[in-house]
């Protein structure tokens, strides 16, 4: 049976093939790296696609072509990599793009994986909105790994509400 590190290795191979310029794991799987586990059934990966793909009507076409060539099945908006549904999401705004470019390199087992940093995860959760994501933002803050000064800077630059910074961190 494959392990999560095999999934991360496959995503690294995608990046190394040049089909995407860069990537970073986001969503609940990224939260695992900084806070307590929360249930999710898919793995979100933000990607910066090549400029020629970005201009086209199907920016993820290259990724789907790569998946086929690797024998990974596509299931609607997910690609099944070693038993894990992976959703590739193009960096569709400035905050997501910055989150990918400034992602942290984490080690999982023996594999290096790019993961959105905790401050950007909070900002992305607030930007996306909804109760579940707001809870995720508080969970990250309470875990204690968020640099509040850096978070304030990100929220200010991307015109996001800063009320969460007033929350009790104990």
């Amino acid at each position: 049976m494959s392990s999560l590190s095999d999934v991360f290795s496959a995503i690294n191979r995608l990046r190394d093939s040049g089909i995407v310029a860069d990537y970073a794991v986001g969503g609940a799987t990224a939260v695992l790296f900084y806070a307590e586990p929360a249930r999710t059934y898919d793995l979100d990966v933000f990607v910066i696609v090549r400029p020629e793909d970005e201009r086209g009507l199907a920016p993820l076409a290259g990724i789907y072509g790569w998946a086929r060539s690797q024998g990974y099945e596509a299931e609607a908006e997910h690609i099944l990599i070693d038993g894990v549904p992976v959703q590739f999401l193009p960096a569709h705004n400035a905050l997501v793009e910055e989150s990918v470019r400034e992602a942290r390199e984490q080690i999982y087992g023996t594999v290096t994986v790019r993961v959105v940093g905790p401050e950007h995860l909070v900002a992305l959760a607030l930007q996306a909105g909804g109760a579940k994501r707001r809870e995720r933002a508080y969970q990250l803050l309470e875990a204690g790994g968020v640099d509040r000064g850096r978070l304030r800077d990100i929220l200010t630059r991307h015109a996001l509400p800063r009320g969460i910074l007033d929350a009790d961190s104990t």
């Binding site: 095999d6 695992l32 806070a35 929360a38 999710t40 059934y41 898919d42 609607a76 894990v84 309470e142």
Partner: protein, 68 residues
Amino acid sequence: MPTQPEQADRDAAIGRLFHAKAEWHRAQARLPLQEKVRILLELQRQDLPLIVRRRSLRPWERPWTITP
């Protein structure tokens, strides 16, 4: 009505409970990554029947067939 000392004792006990709960969450956050993934896989298995009772599953909503 509780007396003032009783109320103070009760408030202190509730404070300790919340403190312990927050500390438990922080301890979960500090677990080794692979242990957190093991917990995630367990949560996926446990939650699935509960989700099925509330709504129909999306095609990709199923426990991952991987090891941590």
